[in-house]
Amino acid sequence: MSNTDTLPPADETTDVNPVGGIDQAVGDFQYDVNYEFDAGTGLNENTVRYISSVKKEAPWILEFRLKALKTFLEKPMPTHWATTDLNNIDFDKIRYYLSQGQKPKRTWDEVPDDIKKTFERLGIPEQERKFLAGVEAQFDSEAAYSNIKDIVAKQGVIFCNSTEALREHPEIFKKFFGKVIPTGDNKFSALNSAVFSGGSFIYVPPGVKVAQPLQAYFRINAENFGQFERTLIIADEGSEVVYMEGCTAPKFSTSTLHSAVVELVALKGAKIQYITVQNWANNVFNLVTKRGVAHEDAEIKWIDCNIGSRLTMKYPGVVLKGKRARGEVVSIALANDGQHQDTGAKMIHAADDTTSVIVAKSISVGQGRSTYRGQVHIPKHLKGCKNNTECDALLINTNSRTDTYPAITVRGDTHAVQHEASVSKVNEEQIFYMQQRGLTEAQAMSLAVNGFVNDLVRQFPMEYSVELKRLIDLEMEGSVG
């Protein structure tokens, strides 16, 4: 199993991360929420015990959490390769658990008005509202709304939040939980393992092809509140599922931590596609561990779009465990002023004739900084493995910065590996050309950015490409003076 701590080192000279300056038009709002359960700020054994008791968890889970807490406290910050901005996270000021104490809702009518207001404020277009009718939305720590699960339940699919899954499907949960990403994989996967709450659990029975994408909308809505959702998706033999995750957060005055763990298991011949489009406020530390295991002839594809946040560190990975397994990561990162997108992908080949594809595009605007870290590992004893890595960076204005750290370790001589990288700039001449046609500077930049990612976005489901385009527009509007 690979370890995040072994990623190639970044240069540590500049870690200035001037937060503030940009006002995010989306998500800049808060509503009063009556938090029935609240673990207070700071993290110790009591916090973990509190969370576990509120959730009425089985003893083995508490055990698991406490062990994870120990690992978290012991592990150093990975600042030997990652940015020292991580040292600015004040773990004592973070609130580790919060629950609205609400049962998941079934119909739109039953959803409380303030939550509806929240969705409305997020500017979700009319045509997407109907989509929301089938959404499993997480309001703070707990799912606040769901109805798609009834539809897919008819096919035998289990779709619920992780708390519910632990209670109702312990045998299957326990079998796969923490197996793809062990607690000690990295400091933040350990943290998540100690305090996780919310997130989705999906089990797709053999041969079932889930027709519609399963969707979850995550939000954070409390100051200093960190979100630690835990998602586990198991696609049994020959099944297929698409999962979509969207995130948007209100603007906070102090730093906030989001640290999720997502584990995917694609059994023989199964296909999982996991799509994320997220837009965090630019004081959020977004430190997420995502990995999948693809068994024989299985396919896992991560589509990961990161916009906003103060620092995002995320390297979706696939362990290609069975013969002819296929892994793909399509990643788009946009770093605006005061933001650092440290993203990439990991492909661990562990069987013959496995294929991995990485396409990463990053956009740096103003003082924004983007870093690509890739890890492709093909050991000597394997035969016929293929990897294709392409990373492209787009710079908008000369102050922005981009770094690439591809680490491709390929041993053995029957493999085919290809790596391409490019850096391009949106120049003044292009912006002027578009402005001369009547587009504002922001519209022109937005068009250039959309053009840059266009070939990737075309692969997205319609509503997500619309969403992404809208987020890019907003981000560009904020970036011109």
Partner: protein
Amino acid sequence: MSSLEIRDLHVALADSPEKPIVKGLTLTIKTGEVHAIMGPNGTGKSTLSKAIAGHPDYVITSGDVLIDGKSILEMEPDERARAGLFLAFQYPSEIPGVSIANFLRAAVQARMAEGEELDASGYYKRLYSKMDLLKIDRKFTSRSVNEGFSGGEKKRCEILQMAMLEPSFSLMDETDSGLDIDALKIVAEGVNAMRGEKLGVLLITHYQRLLDYIVPDFVHVMYDGRIVKSGDKNLALELEAKGYDWVKTELAAV
């Protein structure tokens, strides 16, 4: 009737404002008129057209540019464009990943009132009819703006944009260069079809040949940042026959 008035315009590079390129140029273009500007390389023709459009490389050190009596110099380039000014570039930019259809759609939408929605089928109908007129293959709608286009294709694409955006004033900077004889005729037909009461044209060219097809109402000779001679279409014929040396000697004699 509208007018584009260039009043004693002085233009320099923003980086070195002390070195003027355009040195006091005065010209009024009314809708319905076609003016041609000819002049040797490096005289400041492109500088003039880009400065009018608001290119950030240039600064206007004195003089004014007005549309219908109102100065446009305080306006952003996109505001000038929406006010009816179009520049057909001598060297059009490439915009990777942005299709012609989407680009023009955004440009058309930018001219509509807030909240007004573009009628997509009407838009495509119009786009296709303009493309047919300019004999541009419909496949081009999905190609990225100017990316990988041949020189002539780029120029034709400029005219397509002009046709779609229906400006009041079009500054056409060497639209004829890079066009083969057939393409030249097609482009000229396209421009002639747009000619009329609603459009004023400033045609920058080196060749009389273009003026055989787009017959100008006025011809101006630009030399060292100024208009040094104006006349009707016969001036272009004279220039073709005698070359710029003739203008230079005449100037020296004054």
